[in-house]
Amino acid sequence: MAMETLEVVIDAMSRQGAGNVAVELMRADGAALPAFEAGAHVDVHLPGGLIRQYSIASPPADRSRYVLCVRREPASRGGSASVHERLRVGQALTISTPRNLFALRPGGHHVLVAGGIGITPLLAMGHQLLAAGSSFELHYYVRSRQEIAFLRQLQGELGERVHLHSAEEGRDARQVLPGALDGAGNDHQLYLCGPAAFMDHITAAAQARGWDAARIHSEAFAPVVPVPSADAAAQDAAFEVQLASSGQVYRVPADRTIAQVLGEAGVPLSLSCEMGICGACLTDVVEGMPDHRDSVQSETEKAGNRQITVCCSRSRSPRLTLAL
């Protein structure tokens, strides 16, 4: 997918809790940036040629800047390290125009649940909902209070709607779930952003409490692993795959691949390496958000989300519809 790019400069950088750095991007001449809806992200072309997607955390009403926030990941594949080590104030950067795969839906009440640096798109959502006078609450799970990003905003204008949960204080998501998951109305919407295992846990808890999958929206920020490892498999969640031709839906359990499930069901697939390196099984995505696990598509191709390697990739959305 060819995406329009923008030239911006880094207007400010700030520490946002331990291990996080916020990067404020503006046009060099101060002109307004393209409008975006909360939940949007931009592709950032980092020094060294990497392209990484980061959600915009700032209020959509403020067209003067996009604020991103990046956590220093010890297991960084280069993007996080590059942001922390190589970016500086005043530097010019190329970014894509904002893209939104995680937009707010119409609803009577919005429950935003962030794990760690997953706060970034949800913070923008909080600002947008506040400006619109909509009903919402924001739950932010962190390992320790020191890691809270954007603390001043969270305590300030969003204040009374924000619930901070620190694992150090015994309030991780396994101990304390947002109360709003219980007895939710049919027009309530749930938005999740954080590590895959975190989102799986909240999703499962919400579904057990009667939440329909169509009202649970999530965006993963966890790095895509090149080849599925035992560790990654332990964090995988189940999802559904639908065939566009027949409408048939298959459940892909956490420990199985799309190819295994469809192969057993007799759906003809074109497989070769079965480890995401060759691209023989690339299949068009009709709907849903792939979780790319292959190392054959380029970063740009992955960001376009037009195709998925069914041998090893999974889904970020509860359902993935494929052109099969």
């Binding site: 040629g49 074109s270 497989l271 070769s272 390496c273 480890m275 390196i277 060759c278 691209g279 023989a280 099984c281 190392s295 054959v296 380029s298």
Partner: protein, 351 residues
């Protein structure tokens, strides 16, 4: 691209007997391909074949001319002719062709003005890296660039051109063999590789403007047996591959210290089933070694590869990734096939 029918094949754009499909031939004809080692091109007409097109190559007053190997008068191959200081002479009626392929002598009517029609069908030519490069059908809207060879012009580097090497196989298969890092321990054990060093450490490919780059780091020494002690124990050998699609790839081998060896693998597609390999080499060490030894050593490596490439089936390169099986060592080969597919190649790579 012009859609002028081939003069010898009025119903097609392609040379008679072309082994390519029309669209693949057109894509390949837009690119530069080497047809000769420049040092071997003198006044005497020399014969070459590129994409099934028979060519005559000669040098007149320092300038290289490449043209269809057909006399515009009565169709005899000029490569069979003789030459003098002013050009090549057709063996049939003695017509002589000089700079720009223009006729400058009609022995049977020496006083007659020479018609424009008596000019050879010439092609754009560039001399670079010791090779004569030709483009059969330049695309005026987006002319193809020449491949880039690292270090060739750098101070301290010796320039070597290996003799052309013929392979009865498809250029794509040959290039893929050049990019392959898993075959060293199996095929090249008589020249540089250790049969016990079979493991291929993981590596990645990075897309570039004209292909891709792969930095391959391993413990496979590039010193031949008997000289391996020249590298420190546990030396990490970096081999940087840079492809220029479709059929050129450079390999820069980082020897200990600042020593570099660059090998440019230029697979010239004579036809879909024949390849003429040209290999310019640049190095900044071991300069006292006779060039003949470099030629001989590389010839042995080419022979080792040829034995495999000529036997591969299908002969052409399957661009449909599902047609062959792939292992992690194949990242370069996969990037190569994907790159060719993106350029629009199709049918002829499938067979």
């Amino acid at each position: 691209m012009s859609a002028v029918p081939h003069p010898a094949n009025p119903h097609s754009l392609l040379p008679p007997g072309s082994t390519f499909t029309t669209s693949d031939w057109q894509l390949l004809a837009r690119q530069w391909h080497p047809v000769a080692n420049a040092s071997e091109i003198t006044g005497a007409p020399s014969k070459a074949t590129l994409l099934d097109e028979a060519l005559v190559v000669y040098r007149v007053k320092g300038e290289v001319v490449v043209a269809r190997d057909v006399c515009p008068h009565r169709g005899v191959p000029l490569s069979m002719g003789s030459h003098d200081e002013e050009g090549v002479v057709c063996p049939y009626h003695g017509l002589r062709f000089g700079a720009g392929g223009r006729c400058n002598r009609i022995p049977s009517s020496p006083n007659q003005a020479i018609p424009a029609k008596l000019s050879l069908a010439t092609y754009p030519v560039v001399e670079r890296y010791g090779l004569v490069w030709v483009c059969l059908a330049p695309d005026a809207d987006s002319p193809a660039p020449l491949p880039v060879m690292p270090h060739w012009d750098d101070a301290g580097f010796q320039q070597i051109n290996c003799p052309a090497f013929d392979i009865n196989g498809f250029a794509g298969r040959q290039v893929e063999g050049f990019l392959d890092v898993a075959h060293f321990a199996w095929i090249h054990t008589d020249t540089f590789a250790d049969p016990d060093n079979q493991l291929v450490p993981d590596y990645t490919t990075v897309e570039t403007e004209h292909g891709f780059r792969a930095d391959y780091i391993s413990s496979v020494s590039n010193y031949s047996e008997g000289f391996r002690h020249l590298a420190p124990a546990d030396f990490a050998w970096l081999r940087r591959f840079e492809t220029h699609l479709p059929f050129t790839a450079s390999l820069t081998i980082h020897f200990p210290g600042e020593q570099r060896l660059v090998i440019l693998n230029c697979a010239s597609p004579v036809s879909a089933r024949k390849t003429r390999l040209f290999v310019p080499i640049a190095r900044n060490f071991n300069l006292e070694q006779p060039v003949e030894e470099v030629h001989a050593f590389n010839l042995r490596i080419f022979e080792e590869d040829r034995a495999m490439v000529e036997l591969q089936r299908p002969e052409r390169l399957p661009l449909d990734m599902a047609l062959e099986a792939h292992i992690p060592a194949d990242r370069s080969s996969i990037a190569y096939r994907r790159g060719l597919k993106k350029m629009g190649f199709g049918e002829f790579f499938l067979v």
